[in-house]
C-alpha cells in the first residue's frame, strides 16, 4: 500500500456551530445544510464510523458506494472524493482528511451477517444496522430498512488486493484523526458508531467519536456529477 495522503483543515473547533460526542454503539441522525462543513473525529483511534447520507429533500436519492468509487475510479475515499448519490447528485465533498483513506466496500455489521461471519450464536450482539433502524424509526419521516443502503466506513481499512481478495486490516487511524466534508446540497446524515466486537475494525474496543459542524464558509454553485472527471 502506498503512503496515504493527509490534508489538514484550518477550521477551529472552537468556532464550530454544533458539537456532539456519539458514544460507542449509538446512532446519530442530523440535517446538514448546503455549504456547512462537517467533521468526524476519531477521538480514541481505530473506530469505524458507519455513515449514510441522503438528499434532504428526497431520501430515495442517497449515497451510492458504487457510483462514488466508479466516478473517481478508485476504491478508497479521501480528500477530493465527491460522495455521489444514486441520482448523480454530489452530496458532499471530502475537503480534509488526517487519516488518509476510508472504506466503502465493507458495509455495516448486522445481527444476521454476524451469524454468518462468526457464529450463529452471535445473533444477540449489537450491530450497526440495528442502530441505523432505531435512528430512522425515531426520526419518524417514513424511512425503513429499504433506506439502509451500502454505507461508508470512515476510519476503516478494508484493502482489496490485485488478486481480488478482500481483507479487514487493523485500522490506519489514530486518536484525534478526522475527516471533514463540505455539504454540496442539503443532506441528512445517519451514523452508527460501530459496536462490532468480533473483528479489528474497532480494535476490539468501540469508543466515542465527535461530530462538528461549521456554518457555511464558501458558497459554490450546486454540483452535479460530471462523469468525464
Amino acid at each position: 500500500m502506498s503512503e496515504a495522503k493527509t490534508i489538514e483543515s484550518n477550521l477551529d473547533p472552537g468556532s464550530a456551530s454544533y458539537r456532539h460526542v456519539i458514544p460507542a454503539g449509538e446512532p446519530w441522525i442530523y440535517e446538514i445544510r448546503r455549504g456547512q462543513y462537517f467533521r468526524i473525529v476519531d477521538l480514541h483511534g481505530n473506530q469505524a464510523v458507519d455513515t449514510l447520507f441522503y438528499n434532504l429533500h428526497d431520501y430515495a436519492d442517497r449515497y451510492s458506494a458504487q457510483d462514488t468509487i466508479r466516478s473517481q475510479a478508485n476504491l478508497y475515499l479521501t480528500t477530493g472524493t465527491r460522495l455521489i448519490s444514486t441520482a448523480g447528485t454530489v452530496l458532499l465533498t471530502i475537503v480534509a482528511d488526517t487519516c488518509g483513506r476510508h472504506d466503502t466496500l465493507g458495509g455495516a455489521c448486522a445481527n444476521e451477517s454476524n451469524m454468518v461471519r462468526y457464529a450463529i450464536e452471535k445473533r444477540h450482539m449489537h450491530a450497526c444496522r440495528s442502530s441505523f433502524l432505531k435512528a430512522v424509526l425515531e426520526w419518524d419521516h417514513g424511512m425503513t430498512k429499504r433506506d439502509i443502503a451500502n454505507n461508508i466506513n470512515f476510519f476503516m481499512n478494508v484493502p482489496v488486493t490485485p488478486e481480488g481478495k478482500l481483507t479487514f486490516e487493523d485500522g490506519i487511524s489514530e486518536a484525534g484523526r478526522y475527516v471533514e466534508m463540505r455539504a454540496e446540497t442539503d443532506v441528512l446524515a445517519l451514523i452508527s458508531n460501530c459496536p462490532q466486537l468480533n473483528n479489528p475494525c474497532n480494535a476490539y474496543n468501540p469508543t466515542p467519536v465527535e461530530v462538528l459542524l461549521w456554518d457555511a464558509v464558501i458558497w459554490d454553485a450546486p454540483v452535479k456529477d460530471a462523469p468525464e472527471n
Binding site: A60, S113, G164, K224, D225, P227
Partner: protein, 238 residues
C-alpha cells in the same frame, strides 16, 4: 436445448432487460454469446423484497472482491440468494456498479427510439428501475449490483480499471437459486468499459432444474461462513 434439465432458453438482446422469479431448486445459466458481454444483476427475496442482495455482506463473508465458482451471493439477512455453481470466466465484478443516463450520453451520445428503434441507447440505472418497477420496487430498492462477465482491476492504491477481454465467446456462469429469487438483469455495457462505441452484447439464458444441495456441495464448503449461510437459508424454509 435437448439437455434434459433445461426448462427453457431465452436470448437477452444487447442493452435489453429481463426479470424472473428464479425458484429455489432451479438454476440460471447465462452464456456470453459473442464474448465481451456485461450482465448487470440485482437479486431480491421474492416473498419479502426488502431482503435483497448485499454486496458488502457477500464480499466480507467470503473475503473476496471477485465472484466465481464456489462463491455465493448473500442477502442482507444472512441468507444465500444464489450460488455460483459453474463458471468458465473466473472473475465477475461486484464493485463497478452500473451506468446512468448522463454517463451513456457523455460516452456515446444520443440515439433515440424514433430514429434507432430497438437499437436506441439504454443505460444500466434506468434499465434496473424500469424492470424493478414491474415488480413494485422503486429507487429506494436500488442497491449495489453485480456485473457478470466483467472484471475491474484494483491496484494497491485503490485505482480501478476495466479489464478488457475478460470473457470469451461462449463463456458461461450458472447461478443456483437457494431461495425464490426475483432476478433483475440487463445487458447494458459496464460503466468503466472504455470502448468509445455503444456496443452492448447479447446473452443466452437457460433456466434449468438444479441438483439438490448435498452436504459436500462446493459452495457450502468453500468457506466456513457459507456453511452457516446455508444453514440459515435452510431454516428459512422449515
Amino acid at each position: 436445448m435437448n439437455h434434459p434439465s433445461i426448462l427453457w432458453e431465452e436470448t437477452v438482446w444487447p442493452g435489453a432487460s429481463w426479470s424472473h422469479v428464479l425458484k429455489r431448486g432451479t438454476a440460471l445459466r447465462i452464456a456470453d454469446i459473442e464474448g465481451g458481454a456485461n450482465v448487470g444483476a440485482l437479486f431480491y427475496n421474492f416473498e419479502c423484497p426488502v431482503e435483497r442482495y448485499n454486496m458488502p455482506d457477500t464480499l466480507k463473508a467470503q473475503h473476496t472482491a471477485r465472484l466465481t465458482k464456489g462463491v455465493v451471493l448473500y442477502s442482507d439477512m444472512g441468507r444465500i440468494l444464489c450460488s455460483v455453481v459453474e463458471d468458465t470466466v473466473g472473475w465477475h465484478d461486484p464493485i463497478g456498479g452500473c451506468s446512468n443516463g448522463a454517463l451513456v450520453k457523455l460516452k456515446y451520445g444520443e440515439a433515440r427510439y424514433q430514429e434507432h428503434r430497438n437499437e436506441s441507447y439504454k443505460n444500466g440505472r434506468d434499465s434496473f428501475l424500469v424492470e424493478m418497477s414491474k415488480w413494485g420496487l422503486g429507487p429506494r430498492d436500488l442497491t449495489s449490483n453485480v456485473n457478470f462477465f466483467s472484471r475491474v482491476d484494483v491496484t494497491a492504491d485503490g485505482a480501478m480499471s476495466y479489464h478488457a477481454g475478460n470473457s470469451a465467446r461462449g463463456s458461461y456462469v450458472e447461478l443456483r437459486a437457494e431461495m425464490n429469487v426475483l432476478t433483475i438483469l440487463n445487458t447494458c455495457q459496464h460503466p468503466l468499459d472504455p470502448n468509445p462505441e455503444y456496443a452492448p452484447k447479447p446473452v443466452l439464458l437457460s433456466v434449468r432444474h438444479a441438483a439438490s444441495v448435498e452436504p459436500d456441495d462446493p459452495c457450502r464448503l468453500s468457506r466456513p461462513e457459507n456453511g452457516r449461510g446455508f444453514t440459515l437459508t435452510e431454516r428459512y424454509f422449515l
